[in-house]
Symmetry: C2
């Protein structure tokens, strides 16, 4: 980009039919709802928000990300409940009732017209100048974006993934529990992992126990066949992890696992585990086969991973309790 | 705001000459530069940015705020140096050289056409989908907004301000030193102060020492006439505080103060101080007359405050070393 004497731009300069700045090389976007504009846009160049929304310049906003598979949104109510919890924690009044937000989400996905997509929902503190204090914001805003589905590289599932312990410390307890737009620590975890040529980084709490990755949770399967996941004191209540815990109960009924517990996990215990798992909205569940250079278990994706992976597939395609239809019930909106 | 069946909006719906959503009740904006659009806009409804800029959804951006007084930008080089430092800390490549950014700032303020204004500069990780990792962002972006000047209420200067110790802990050391768009802790400090009916909140580090306010620095004058300010281990290097330290040296030459030191300050020491001061780009310097319910000094704005306030006024209007002309040298750009 080369600096030139500044030009004063008109509306036509910016929002021409195919603006240069909306490079088509990025993700495909199908629809965006904005409470600022009071409706949905499908032209990607209109997927903008005011610079003076406090979410932009202070990170004063919260979000959720979930997927729509074959026309059904997976685990929507869990995401909405967490959105409400995040809002409460930072005293952010939602712009609509939770049921209205749900309706708007469904209708925005329907407008996008694509049965397999990712959905991201943001609630911002709102438009209101550039101060830090929210008192200048008159009302919070809702933004929803519907974009192409995310998929992990195939070898993540077939060969497993690598992880390191991040040098970035876990967020202070309170802030770790709000899914806010303050993700700079997480961003640095991602950059550190990339620099170290591994797939994921895992943050530790002050006492050196495992917390979470940049945008995913972790768990281990001990040699005694127990499924163990960290306490929520320094991490987000991952919706995929919690579904994973539910699905793990089936493995216990089947006699494959012997128990589930939520407690502190040290790095050393993870190194010695028979399986290490990553949970996230995008990939569902992934097998960690190398952590801090140590081979985990056999060094290959393990049985619990394979079984949980299949159970997730079934959950996402068949479990009506966690599936919200987008297209079939459109007329009911 | 009432939810209605969603409408698909056109460019004309959103950016009509006087769009409803751009409520004129907020701050007045004079100009905005955007490297995304490649120029300046003066119509506030065009002061927007793409939702998929990582600054929006991850707080992955940095910023600076400074003022232009009577056509001269105050302390610009110090702000630019800090912008560069913040960028380095989070491995963010600036979209232009620092000297080009300076040129663009000057020209954007000139385009705004107002001699007294606030200027806010943002560098974002850039447009690139909705992941957390910056690798999907092709280039960083620069946004500059020129808006009406900020002024503290008159009684802040004449009667002094009140402060409390915030329950929100100071940011971890590394993050406290990056002026990033991750300001949620600061936002909560502001809300806490408002709830407690005081003007400012001050965060403590893990050991209980004073760090900084939501968007300002603090210092004290001891009974022994020493000017003391906290170490930079858990706070931002405030440009106004550092100017204040320079100006304080004049008070030492005049024999009014006996020394300057940068060291840990406990709450108790602040309670016992003869003056407590707040430094910030908006107000320059303010006298704290009540802290955690304790009267500070005489309970009225003190001599050091009055003298520093006058020195700041002189600095801002006369000290060519820290003043960047916007309008007179416009032809040189």
């Amino acid at each position: 980009m080369i600096y030139r004497k500044l030009k004063i731009l008109s509306r036509e300069d910016i929002f021409s039919q195919k603006p240069e700045w909306r490079n088509p090389g990025y993700s495909r976007y199908f629809a965006m709802y904005s409470s600022v504009f009071g409706g949905v846009v499908t032209d990607p160049s209109l997927m903008v928000l005011p610079l003076d929304d406090h979410m932009v310049h202070r990170g004063d906003g919260i979000f959720e990300a979930f997927k729509c598979v074959n026309g059904y949104i997976y685990n929507l109510d869990a995401h909405l409940a967490r959105l409400q919890k995040s809002a409460e924690l930072i005293s952010l009044k939602l712009p609509f009732s939770l049921s209205t937000i749900k309706q708007i989400i469904i209708e925005t996905v329907a407008t996008g017209g694509v049965k397999d997509c990712m959905v991201r929902v943001f609630v911002s503190r709102g438009i209101g100048g550039f101060d830090c204090a929210p008192r200048e914001c008159k009302e919070s805003n809702l933004y929803i974006i519907v974009l192409e589905p995310w998929s992990a590289p195939e070898h993540f599932y077939t060969k497993g993934v690598s992880a390191i312990t991040s040098k970035i410390p876990a967020k202070p307890s309170f802030f770790a529990q709000v899914k806010s737009c303050n993700y700079l620590p997480n961003v640095l975890v991602e950059m550190e992992a990339e620099k170290n040529k591994v797939d994921f980084g895992i943050m530790l709490d002050e006492e050196g126990y495992l917390t979470e990755g940049a945008t995913e949770n972790v768990a281990i399967v001990t040699k005694e066949k127990k499924f163990v996941y960290p306490t929520f004191s320094h991490m987000l209540k991952g919706t995929s992890l919690l579904r994973g815990v539910e699905l793990t109960k089936e493995l216990i009924k089947m006699g494959i696992l012997k128990g589930i517990s939520q407690r502190n996990i040290s790095r050393e215990e993870a190194y010695e585990s028979s399986e290490m798992l990553i949970f996230g909205t995008g990939p569902n569940v992934l097998p960690v086969v190398e952590y801090d250079g140590n081979k985990i278990g056999t060094g290959k994706p393990g049985d619990v991973f394979h079984m949980l992976s299949r159970l997730f597939q079934r959950d996402i395609t068949e479990n009506k309790k966690v599936l919200t239809p987008v297209f079939k019930e459109e007329e009911k909106l």
